[in-house]
């Protein structure tokens, strides 16, 4: 059990009605590792994350967390098994204070005896501490993204799923998101990162899978980040 990867997806298939959205997808993420998932719009990246999190039912295959299957479980159950999703569009509670948003993240802690402190989150993102009494809706886009990531981390998950964390952010903020992800990997988390920014993702991740039409087409390593031709052909389904 102990040598099982933090997250393992095997032959996953998801359909929306009769339309297959994800077909035969298999991937592993170990602790201290970032695995990227890139591909064009509608390729099935978000659907893969949603299936892992129990938000959409899988038709076939299996998802295991530290060796135990989580397939068919409710999202809150999976959250309390140590999987946290930073959803697309951040989905923070704008009318709640920053601190209340973070306290909500504590709902994902596996036992009530766990460390319920928010200090770790505030150390990683000092600006959240400064604004902790402010309504989260008043934060800038970049700060809201930090809040969404911090809210996922306070639950002390083993596996962190991120759905396009750089979406809608100014280039300088994108840099800081990617720096944060590197720090999170060093903290021993298993990170599955869905992104549109292919080159940055390939450069950061230990390996990056290219998803197209619901299927894994190609796996790239950091050394491929500079190889524009390979990147383009991967996207075009070459």
């Amino acid at each position: 059990m102990t040598d099982a990867p933090a997250l393992s997806v095997r032959n996953l298939e998801v359909r929306y009605g009769a339309v297959p959205a994800v077909r035969n997808v298999s991937l592993d993420v170990a602790r201290g590792e970032i695995v990227g998932l890139i591909g064009p719009n509608g390729a099935g990246k978000s659907t893969t994350l949603h299936a892992i999190m129990g938000l959409v039912p899988a038709r076939e295959g299996d998802v295991t967390v530290a060796g135990a299957s989580v397939l068919g479980k409710a999202p809150e159950w999976i959250a309390r098994r140590g999987v946290a999703l930073v959803p697309e569009g951040r989905r923070i509670y704008p009318d709640f204070t920053v601190e209340e948003n973070l306290r909500l993240g504590l709902a994902g802690l596996r036992t009530t005896r766990s460390n319920r402190s928010l200090t770790g989150a505030y150390e990683l993102f000092p600006v959240l501490h400064d604004f902790r009494r402010r309504h989260a809706g008043l934060l800038s886009g970049g700060q809201q993204q930090q809040l969404a990531i911090a809210r996922a981390l306070v639950a002390q998950p083993d596996v962190l799923l991120l759905d396009e964390p750089s979406l809608g952010l100014a280039p300088s903020l994108v840099d800081s998101v990617f720096e944060t992800l590197a720090k999170i990997r060093d903290g021993g988390f298993a990170v599955l990162l869905v992104e549109q920014r292919a080159q940055r993702t390939v450069a950061l991740a230990n390996r990056t899978h290219v998803l197209s039409n619901g299927e894994l087409r190609l796996t790239l390593g950091p050394e491929d980040a500079g190889d524009t031709e390979k990147m383009v052909s991967a996207y075009l389904g070459g």
Partner: protein, 301 residues
């Protein structure tokens, strides 16, 4: 002209009615928040509580009230487990119709239980003395009006503290705002919904006690009219937020009380018409809700 006919006593009664309706509005709003379900059967919970008070009239008052709370909360939980939970995720129309069905079923059951002594209606006597008037600054006020206002204020203050200062309160607010994200974060749906249902049941029991003091004659349609009026008030106030729903409940109770006092005695049959004419006017002027500022119209059931 209204000033001439509305005296201090009418105002006191109107505030008392507003307080009771505010409690009912909170009870309906709490469950709506987490389930997106307008519980039309809320009045029948209150009716069940009133019957419990009537059937236990010979008990000591404290025990009678405790029995009322137990029965109403238990009934709320059964309702959630047997009907609401299987229908969770259904369309609002399906859930609304289901609560209509529960309402009629509970009324039918009440009738069957009630009619065993060959009369319809039971009298709850033990707490009726609270209906006696007392004089406050020269105004005659029934003691229950004072009790109702104090109990409503305390209950609403406790609820506000619970929602803003505790973890379960935070989870309830999050669930009411965006349930999907709350579950994603590990907030347990059944626990939050169960808690809202229990709180809503406790409020229904409190309303049972207050209404039974004022109207000790309990029949199967007990609190039915009040519930319809409160549901209208909640929609007028803005059902998607607890405090606007509460204000809506209070406002329609207060308006009903004032109009009731202002109408000449022989014309009180026009009370519902007058109240609902006011409601139509409000909805024409503020379709998103009387207290909904700065937001677009919301979909209503």
């Amino acid at each position: 002209m209204i000033y001439a006919v509305v005296d201090a006593q009418t105002l006191a009664d109107a505030v008392g009615l507003g307080a009771v309706y505010a409690l009912m509005a909170v009870g309906i709003g709490l469950v709506f928040g987490v389930l997106r379900l307008v519980n039309f059967a809320y009045g029948q919970l209150i009716m069940a509580g009133a019957y419990t008070l009537a059937f236990t009239s010979h008990w000591r008052v404290g025990w009678s009230i405790a029995a009322c709370v137990v029965v109403v909360v238990a009934l709320s939980l059964v309702m959630d487990r047997v009907v609401f939970r299987p229908l969770r995720g259904s369309s609002p129309a399906v859930m609304l119709v289901a609560t209509f069905a529960i309402a009629f079923m509970l009324q039918a059951i009440a009738l069957l239980v009630d009619i065993r002594d060959n009369t319809i209606g039971e009298i709850a006597t033990s707490i009726a003395p609270l209906n006696q008037p007392t004089t406050v600054h020269g105004v005659e006020v029934r003691k229950i009006t004072i009790v109702a206002v104090i109990v409503a204020a305390v209950a609403l203050a406790l609820l506000a503290l619970l929602l803003t200062r505790t973890t379960i309160g935070l989870h309830m607010r999050a669930a009411a705002t965006d349930f999907g994200t709350a579950r994603l974060l590990g907030v347990q749906a059944n626990r939050v919904i169960g808690f809202a249902v229990v709180l809503s049941g406790i409020l229904a029991a409190i309303v049972s006690v207050i209404l039974t003091v004022q109207f000790p004659f309990v029949g199967p349609d007990f609190a039915l009219r009040d519930t319809i009026v409160v549901l209208v008030g909640v929609v007028v106030g803005g059902i998607d937020r607890l405090w606007t729903a509460t204000l809506g409940g209070f406002s329609i109770g207060f308006a009903t009380g004032v109009i009731n006092g202002a109408l000449p005695t022989e014309q009180t049959v026009f009370l519902p018409s007058a109240v609902f004419a006011l409601v139509i006017l409000v909805l024409l002027l503020r379709p998103a809700g009387l207290f909904a500022w700065g937001r677009g119209p919301v979909e209503r059931v």
